[in-house]
């Protein structure tokens, strides 16, 4: 109900924040939206000794089209992605997922970057990032590096940041050809975590063949799962019902869902299969529609 006590820091600049994180090492955690961290602290599942509140770093609250990619700053809230025309133009998968993250109130406060760094396998954003081949900018007081998302998402609540690093930006590449994407989430009600979800992405060449494909899964493995085998199957091919069916079957067998109150593993695999097919169909329709 009430979190345990902690030391609180409220830096006024990014440099100050990074300096404090360097100083605190693993004793310090970043507080951005807090919509994942604070509930855990209230249940006493997390008890960081220090919180570095970055909400004053308003310069980091951006969503903008940079050269060749969509740049999302560390303080961009989930709500900033919803109904955002730039996001829709650059990443339909991301646009499709945004309304389904948590609930509208949580979306007003929680951040995209924070959710990505959290690496909850039931979190939605990392599936989108893995499907579209995003990357993460990690900053520390000694500099900056760009980490591809597949390297960043290490395991269950584990990312590849080192001591003193924080995510300052997320980059989503702009599709080369005609692109489409979807995020299909089965949840028992708004605000619940996904029972299972699939992020899809397709990029088509002029002749209609698939040049790039992304399929990533939520809540069916110890981390958000990129189904590389299924993606490879699609590349260079002409889309067809049979092709998508094969890809979906691969996705269903590649994941490793738990049997729990949301259903047995068998069921979740069946949902992954159905949703992968539907997601690829939707991505295709969008890519072909040229929207």
């Amino acid at each position: 109900m009430y979190p345990p006590a902690f030391e609180y820091w409220s830096p006024r600049s990014l440099d100050e924040a990074l300096g404090k994180l360097q100083e605190l090492g693993y004793d310090g955690r970043v507080l951005a939206g807090g919509q994942s961290l604070i509930p855990m602290m209230k249940l006493r599942l997390a008890a960081p000794a220090n919180l570095v509140d970055i909400n004053n770093l308003t310069d980091l609250a951006y969503v903008r089209a940079d050269n060749g990619h969509l740049a999302i700053g560390a303080l961009a809230r989930h709500a900033d992605i919803v109904d955002n025309a730039e996001v829709k133009a650059i990443s339909p998968t991301m646009a499709s997922a945004a309304p389904w993250v948590a609930d509208p109130l949580v979306r007003n406060r929680g951040t995209v970057a924070g959710s990505i760094a959290h690496c909850d396998p039931e979190g939605d954003w990392n599936s989108v990032m893995l499907a579209v081949g995003a990357s993460v900018v990690a900053s520390s007081s000694s500099g900056q590096r760009v980490i591809p998302i597949s390297e960043f998402v290490v395991d269950f609540f584990t990312n590849s940041l080192t001591e003193g690093e924080m995510v300052t930006e997320v980059r989503i590449p702009r599709a080369a050809g005609s692109a489409g994407g979807a995020y299909l989430k089965l949840e028992r009600k708004i605000g619940d975590y996904a029972t299972a979800a699939v992020a899809t992405f397709l990029d088509l060449a002029n002749d209609g063949t698939i040049t790039s494909a992304g399929i990533a899964l939520t809540a069916v493995a110890s981390k958000n799962l990129k189904v590389t085998e299924a993606e490879q199957l699609l590349i260079g091919q002409t889309p067809s019902k049979e092709l998508f069916g094969e890809a979906a079957a691969i996705a269903a067998s590649a994941c490793d869902p738990e049997s729990d109150v949301r259903g047995p593993a068998e069921y979740k695999r069946a949902v992954i299969n159905a949703y992968t097919k539907r997601g690829l169909d939707q991505a295709l329709a969008q890519a072909q529609g040229g929207s």
């Binding site: 109900m1 009430y2 345990p4 006493r44 609930d103 089965l186 028992r188 009600k189 708004i190 605000g191 619940d192 029972t195 109150v261 949301r262 259903g263 047995p264 068998e266 069921y267 069946a270 949902v271 159905a274 949703y275």
Partner: protein, 788 residues
């Protein structure tokens, strides 16, 4: 069917039948409600409870020394300390005893083990982590079946208890039922578990206990649906003098039966306040609320219908195994161990029924009767309406035709049921016909016939419930010995306004408005000029409170009766003022006039003034009275709900695409408020049918003890409802009203489930228990046995 009630008062007076705006809303929309957690008293301390992480374990020792030493901690209370005051155990509402703080064993996960009193609620919670309890784990008994089979005794402290059976009970007649089944042309059976659910009102339970060390006065601000009964129980439990106890139930943020029991937290807070001499506040968290307070349902039911060759029901059998949790603590009339489950014969006309029930202890929180159930009528209605639908499907008959064939006809009322209920009035065909018309039933059946078998499957579910409320006549009904009358006290002021004090207690049902409307109807004083008070035991007449939809049938009747008493005195005063004889006067709402001379009249306001300034010799001054109403019978609201769903075959999800609810609760005092009650209930029914339940793993860990796991639908999942009404007044109620608060939670779950099963019947699916989760639908469609 009868028409809507025509109001006899103007909208300005606001009597029965008018949808006047609620008088209580002004404070709520301005954030000025006064809920228990809003109460702040000088020097008030805060209490937090340490709860057992284990479902079943012996307590070997408790070390609270570290907690006691923490700054801000005033005291730590354990069961051992309470034993010294004879408070470690307390009686339940069902004649059992329940632990206040565990002494020998813990018997469910979440059970109260110790309490910290501190200067600040954050400190109190911190201190819980500094109390060390040494547990010796025992076998966790998580189902009633396991409970009956195992050697392990849960209630080993209870003298004479040699097994895990809490009670057995029976209703109806075995011999005639057995004979009917033996002669049956067809028998339809259903095994169904109505899962554990929880009212989870948005405001959790809590209290501020203020024992004044100088006067000995005990004031408890309490989330209570029954403040008078609670006061009497506190006096009996704690040995405190009853006249020194004042319970004030202020604004309550939803009750639904959750705020009827007395919880250990109330007792410990009061004991702590007594010992420490300062007020103590205890407000539980949501997780505590769901894991430990009074749940609803958890009935394992086996039901059968015997049918003759013309598809008439001739008899019904029902066997129940009830999961009572660790203590038998149901809040229900003491004579009925399975509540009013024996209303399970429902809306149908047949002569024989036999119900047997057995309650088993398990390592879970105690309770069972709660969550808008009308004392187990939810379970009963679910069973019969699922059976009726199953019967129709097995025969190959339309479910509405099967019902029409078997309904009690309107000429048959009052109707004596095979289990002894006397149904007051009803027109079941009328309600069902209206519902069918409103939803376009034939059109939906046609659409279903022509649907694409690979697309979404259409299902149409019907439920025609009859429920029984208004507890209850004193010859049959009492709770821990207190008869279930209710009361109303009315005083009309010199300027013609009034104050009404009630023994019932609203938790959102709008009593400040609806009960004023009853007085407005009887006396012609504007409802907006009548102040209504509830909840303060020092300032209201004795009543049994609000639950099981009893306020309107019993409290509303008391209100009408006291208003009529005052009208009789008013007649005498009018006669005095008009210098006429009482027999020469006639009453029209708001005034008495001389028969034949309408220009000779006095208004109720004139009369009120005269009661204080010009009363006749020999008559008492004033215009005030009280009435304690003992209902002659229960009331029987009814209705038909029809739900249309579409089922997605790939992921098992289902959506409600159309829904009609026709309710008949007799005369509606405030139609707007009645519709609000029904809409709320239909939503709770949907919640239970679709997503909401509490379950346990094999270790006795509660799954569903917070709002992440115990799913409450948002506005997005909640269907849209079309409401209809028929009006069949209750012949024995002073204003013909039956009560409606629980009709929709009673009647709707079966409608939703019947719809989904109807969609899947052609695929060989005959039953899916609630909640009808997507994976259960998928499992049924694909022949995969899914657990849970």
């Amino acid at each position: 069917m009868t028409t809507t009630h025509e109001p006899i008062t103007t909208f300005e007076v606001g009597g029965v039948g008018h949808s006047i705006l609620r008088k209580e809303d002004d404070r709520f929309v301005q954030g000025a409600g006064n809920y228990v957690d809003d109460i702040v008293l000088k020097d008030m301390l805060h209490m937090a409870i340490l709860r057992s992480p284990l479902a079943h374990a012996r307590i070997l020792g408790i070390d609270a020394s570290e907690a006691e030493a923490m700054e801000g901690v005033v005291a730590v209370v354990t069961g051992a300390m309470l034993e010294g005051y004879n408070l470690a155990w307390m009686p339940t509402l069902s004649g059992d005893t329940q632990a206040v703080l565990a002494t020998d064993k813990v018997r469910y996960q979440g059970q109260e083990v110790a309490a910290v009193i501190a200067t600040d609620p954050y400190i109190a919670k911190d201190a819980l982590a500094a109390i060390f309890v040494d547990y010796e784990e025992l076998e966790a008994i998580t189902t009633p079946q396991q409970s009956l089979a195992t050697e392990t005794l849960i209630r080993d402290e209870k003298e004479g208890q040699t097994d895990n059976v809490a009670y057995t009970w029976e209703a109806g007649d075995a011999a005639s039922t057995d004979a009917a089944f033996a002669a049956a042309h067809r028998v339809v059976s259903l095994d169904s578990h109505y899962p554990r659910s929880h009212p989870a009102p948005l405001e959790t339970c809590g209290c501020v206990s203020d024992v004044n060390p100088i006067t000995g006065q005990v004031t408890i601000y309490l989330t209570s649906q029954a403040p008078h009964a609670h006061r009497t129980l506190f006096a009996l439990v704690a040995g405190l003098p009853e006249e020194k106890i004042r319970i004030i139930s202020p604004d309550i943020g939803g009750g639904f039966g959750n705020k009827v029991p007395i919880y250990p937290g109330y007792v410990v807070a009061t004991a702590a306040s007594l010992v420490i001499g300062k007020p103590v506040k205890w407000v539980e968290s949501r997780s505590e609320n769901i894991i430990s307070t009074g749940f609803g349902r958890d009935y394992h039911m086996n039901g059968s219908l015997a049918l003759d060759e013309n598809n008439h029901i001739t008899a019904m059998r029902a066997n129940i195994l009830s999961d009572q949790g660790a203590f038998f603590a149901d809040a229900q009339p003491s004579k009925f161990k399975a509540g009013l489950f024996h209303i399970c014969t429902g809306s149908y006309d047949f002569g024989a029924a036999h119900v047997t029930a057995k309650g088993a202890f398990t390592n879970k929180a105690p309770g069972g009767v709660a969550y808008r159930c009308s004392f187990r009528v939810t379970e009963a209605s679910y069973l019969i309406e699922r059976l009726a639908d199953k019967a129709a499907h097995e025969i190959g008959m339309d479910p509405t035709e099967f019902r029409a064939l078997n309904f009690i006809k309107k000429e048959q009322f009052p109707y004596l049921s095979p289990t002894g209920f006397v149904y007051d009035s009803g027109d079941y065909h009328g309600a069902m016909d209206l519902a069918k018309e409103m939803i376009g039933y034939d059109g939906w059946r046609e659409k279903q016939k022509n649907q694409d078998p690979d697309g979404k499957l259409i299902g149409i579910g019907v439920a025609s419930f009859t429920e029984v409320v208004g507890a209850g006549p004193s010859k049959d009904y009492d709770i821990v010995g207190l008869k279930m009358f209710d009361s109303a006290e009315l005083r009309i002021h010199p300027t013609g306004k009034a104050i009404l004090k009630l023994g019932v207690k609203s938790q959102g049902q709008g009593h400040e408005t609806t009960f004023a409307q009853i007085v407005a109807e009887e006396l012609g004083i504007a409802a907006n000029d009548i102040k209504v008070i509830e909840g303060d035991t020092d300032n209201t007449p004795y009543g049994l409170g609000t639950y099981a939809s009893r306020s309107t049938p019993v409290g509303g009747a008391a209100t009408a009766m006291v208003a009529r008493k005052l009208r009789e005195k008013a007649r005498k005063l009018a006669a005095h003022l008009l210098e006429a004889s009482e027999d020469d006067l006639e009453w029209e709402v708001g005034k008495f006039s001389v028969k034949g001379s309408p220009e000779s009249f006095v208004t109720i306001q004139d009369i009120a003034f005269a009661a204080y300034t010009n009363h006749p010799e020999g008559m008492e001054a004033g215009l005030e009275g009280v009435h304690y109403y003992d209902p002659p019978n229960m009331t029987y609201p009814f209705g038909t709900y029809i739900v249309v769903v579409e089922v997605d075959q790939a992921d098992g999800t289902w959506q409600v695409v159309d829904m009609v609810a026709v309710d008949d609760c007799g005369v509606r005092i405030n139609p707007m408020i009645v519709e609000g009650q029904i809409t709320g209930g239909l939503t709770e029914g949907f919640a239970k049918a679709n997503m909401q339940w509490i379950t346990f793993d094999e270790g006795g860990n509660c799954i569903g003890s917070n709002f992440m796991d115990y799913l409450v639908p948002t506005a997005w999942e909640t269907p849209k409802f079309k409401l209809g009404e028929t009006v069949t007044p209750s012949p024995h109620h002073p204003i013909g009203a039956k009560g409606v608060g629980e009709s929709a939670t009673v009647g709707s779950p079966a409608a939703y489930v019947n719809a989904v099963v109807d969609a899947l019947w052609s695929r060989g699916v005959t039953n899916i228990d609630m909640p009808v989760l997507p994976h259960r639908v998928w499992g049924a469609l694909n022949g995969v046995d899914v657990k849970p």
